[in-house]
């Protein structure tokens, strides 16, 4: 009869990160991933996938208008940032089905209302399992309190629809807290770190965030700059690979799995 210690050891042996993430089925296949960012440059991403010998990516593009209305967007990004994020995800989970929503648009900024509209759209209409938020909103933009409450409700809504949010924490600013990353429990909040291998990550909770992930990108003008945006994209790709192995994973299961795998 095995002891509880034996059981944990056995479980740890089974939950081997290298083994799980290098599984041939861990490709992101069948996983619908939303990128709420600056939009993506599809032409560039296709070319990048082609260079890597990957299949052409499935990408659907949308624009979140200032009014909160979301319309198909057969254009380009409003800044290169989203393309860099998508490139990271496609590099490590090449078979995901991407839904890109440009929440910045011509206004050049993401409001809470636009973010809420995009989250609802990603979960309810696109039925995305993963939502990458390599963006942050400063706390003062959550006023009045009703707006903050609306964002919290939307994040809870995502959780109850079995969608998991991966949100980039604030970078280095000691005072400006970046939302929604610090709303930790229902989502994966990510800080930046340097890892030898891009798919390494670490469960390392601090005051506001839980995970550390690789913070370098592979394409884009500021890819070499360590950034939480790139770290969030890496953790999204890792989660997508895991979900492609078992598509019915619940958000808390994904988080627990990531916790175990980071040990």
């Amino acid at each position: 009869m095995s002891t509880s210690g034996d059981f944990v050891k056995e479980l740890s042996r089974l939950l081997d990160r290298e083994r799980l993430l290098s599984d041939s089925l861990a490709s992101g296949a069948g996983v619908r991933v939303a990128i709420l960012d600056t939009g993506v440059d599809v032409t560039t991403l296709r070319a990048r996938c082609h260079e890597r010998g990957q299949e052409p990516p499935r990408i659907e593009e949308f624009l979140v208008q200032a009014s909160g209305e979301i319309v198909p967007h057969m254009g380009r990004h409003s800044a290169p940032h989203g393309t860099t994020v998508a490139d990271i995800i496609l590099r490590w989970a090449p078979k995901v089905h991407l839904f890109s929503a440009d929440v910045f648009g011509p206004e050049g900024s993401c409001s809470v209302d636009k973010l809420i509209a995009a989250l609802r759209w990603a979960v309810d209409l696109c039925q995305c399992k993963l939502i990458n938020l390599s963006l942050g909103i400063a706390e003062e933009r959550l006023y009045p309190p009703a707006r903050r409450h609306a964002l919290l409700l939307t994040i809870q809504h995502c959780y109850h629809r079995d969608a998991i949010l991966v949100a980039a924490a604030h970078n280095d600013h000691p005072l400006v807290l970046s939302f929604p990353a610090i709303i930790t429990p229902p989502l994966l909040s990510v800080r930046k770190a340097e890892f030898e291998k891009p798919l390494q990550f670490q469960y390392s909770p601090d005051s506001f965030t839980e995970f550390l992930a690789h913070s370098r990108a592979y394409f884009g003008p500021f890819a070499a700059t360590a950034a939480t945006s790139w770290a969030a994209a890496h953790l999204t790709a890792i989660a997508a690979r895991l979900i492609s192995l078992k598509p019915d994973l619940k958000p808390f299961e994904i988080k627990t799995l990531l916790y175990w795998l980071s040990q």
């Binding site: 960012d37 600056t38 440059d41 560039t44 624009l63 208008q65 200032a66 009014s67 319309v71 198909p72 967007h73 057969m74 254009g75 380009r76 990004h77 409003s78 800044a79 290169p80 940032h81 989203g82 910045f104 648009g105 011509p106 206004e107 050049g108 900024s109 963006l135 942050g136 400063a138 003062e140 970078n171 280095d172 600013h173 000691p174 394409f219 884009g220 003008p221 500021f222 890819a223 070499a224 700059t225 360590a226 950034a227 945006s229």
Partner: protein, 433 residues
């Protein structure tokens, strides 16, 4: 401000009686007394007079009508009640023209109730007119104050547009040169389009159909960007293809970022370098997100810190610089917004004061003309008015009974003026030969 009644009568007993009647009647007015024209004018030179109760015969060859004429030099709106035992000597037309609104016959009407009735009737007319005048005077004074202030604010606002380069900003840029060991760089300030701007940008047929093609456009990219060099001088270059610019990329990063090989960035990453970015080796970009409708990026070229490792090692310094930039720019924008808000407030105030300052009489006149034109345009108007003509005849009869033949002559003159006025109003001008 209470109305002022001036009682002028050379008979001390009459004057005192009138004064006591009015004082005890609690009219709410300030009461002044004078015994002759000279002392009355002395009072009028120092105090506003709304209603004058004037004796016709003031002695020394003066009469009430002459005094009224002199009083109107000081206070053109003054109205008068004339007390006379010689009503037939007054010329009603002249008296009315000069502001005599009523008469009291010393021998018949000089009773307390008669006086008070007449005074109250006049005050009912004086008070609203006075309020109107006071209001217009205040509006006029306000308008003059605004008009004198407006050019100053307008000049200040224009000096701060499109972007004010303050000494604090110059000092910040000098500090950046020292700290980052480069004099090559720009500060790009972008005014973020408001929601309404964005909605307008989307209001074309394709977007209306739910299909959006290739935004932002080149025109939209260029809009709202101001570029300064590190000396604080405007750079004439315009940002093209903003969505592919390094400024857009840096703003999305929100944190200091570096591009260690600027020369082939276009080829490698598909970004569009701006004219001022060409020819440099590398770039350190410090995005500054402000709380208002602006964002900025400080681009520093060819600095030793524009290397990924070096930048990582100096994160606290870079962060401090971002914060400093945010503080400096926030202060500038706050001042600019204050000037703009003040200018808008003054322009609004001026506009409102202009609307308020439309003379009431001209407004009334125009509406009267309009009413007349409508009334007289009805073809069957005259045959239906026998009762009104009879009423008019009765009124003329009463006037004659009360004031004698001069009143009828005055009415006749009024009717002639009315006829002339209506002829001018309704008859077409003679055509040129």
């Amino acid at each position: 401000m209470a109305e002022t009644i001036l009682i002028v009568d050379d008979e001390e007993s009459v004057r005192r009686t009138l004064y006591e009647w009015l004082r005890d009647a609690d009219t709410g007015c300030e009461l002044l007394q004078a015994w002759d024209a000279e002392s009355a004018l002395q009072i009028a030179s120092q105090r506003p007079i709304d209603l004058a109760i004037l004796d016709w015969n003031l002695g020394a060859g003066h009469n009430g009508l002459q005094l009224l004429e002199d009083l109107r030099v000081f206070w053109p709106q003054v109205v008068a009640i004339l007390i006379t035992g010689y009503a037939h000597q007054a010329t009603p037309l002249d008296a009315l023209r000069m502001g005599v609104r009523d008469y009291l016959d010393k021998s018949r009407d000089l009773r307390r109730d008669t006086l008070l009735a007449i005074v109250r009737r006049q005050l009912e007319t004086i008070r609203p007119a006075k309020r109107e005048r006071d209001h217009l005077a205040r509006v006029q004074a306000f308008r003059q104050a605004v008009e004198s202030l407006l050019p100053l604010v307008q000049t200040t606002a224009e000096l701060t547009a499109p972007f004010p380069v303050s000494e604090s900003l110059r000092a910040f840029l000098r500090l950046a040169q020292t700290v980052f060991q480069t004099d090559q760089g720009v500060l790009v300030i972008r005014r973020l389009p408001s929601s309404s701007d964005a909605l307008r940008a989307h209001a074309d047929p394709l977007r209306g159909a739910g299909i959006v093609h290739d935004i932002p456009s080149a025109e939209a990219d260029e809009a709202g960007c101001t570029i300064l060099d590190l000396q604080g001088q405007p750079v004439t270059a315009r940002i093209r293809h903003f969505a592919d610019s390094l400024v857009a990329a840096a703003l999305a990063m929100r944190d200091a970022c570096v591009l260690d090989d600027l020369s082939n960035a276009e080829h490698r990453f598909g970004v569009r370098l701006q004219d001022y970015e060409r020819g440099h080796r590398n770039l350190l970009a410090l995005p500054v997100i402000l709380e208002n409708d602006y964002a900025a990026v400080l681009e520093l070229f060819d600095t030793p810190l524009a290397q990924a490792q070096a930048a990582e090692g100096h994160r606290p310094l870079l962060l401090s610089f971002q914060n400093l930039a945010a503080a400096v720019l926030s202060q500038i924008f706050a001042e600019r917004q204050l000037h703009s808000a003040l200018l808008r407030a003054l322009q609004t105030a001026l506009e409102i004061s202009r609307q308020q300052n439309v003379p009431w009489t001209s407004h009334q006149r125009s509406s009267t003309i309009s009413d007349w034109q409508q009334l007289l345009a009805q073809p069957d108007i005259l045959p239906r008015e026998p009762e009104e003509l009879l009423q008019l005849a009765k009124q003329l009869h009463l006037l004659h009974h009360k004031y004698g033949p001069p009143a009828l002559r005055f009415c006749q003159q009024l009717l002639e003026q009315l006829e002339a006025f209506l002829s001018q109003l309704l008859e077409p001008p003679a055509s040129a030969p």
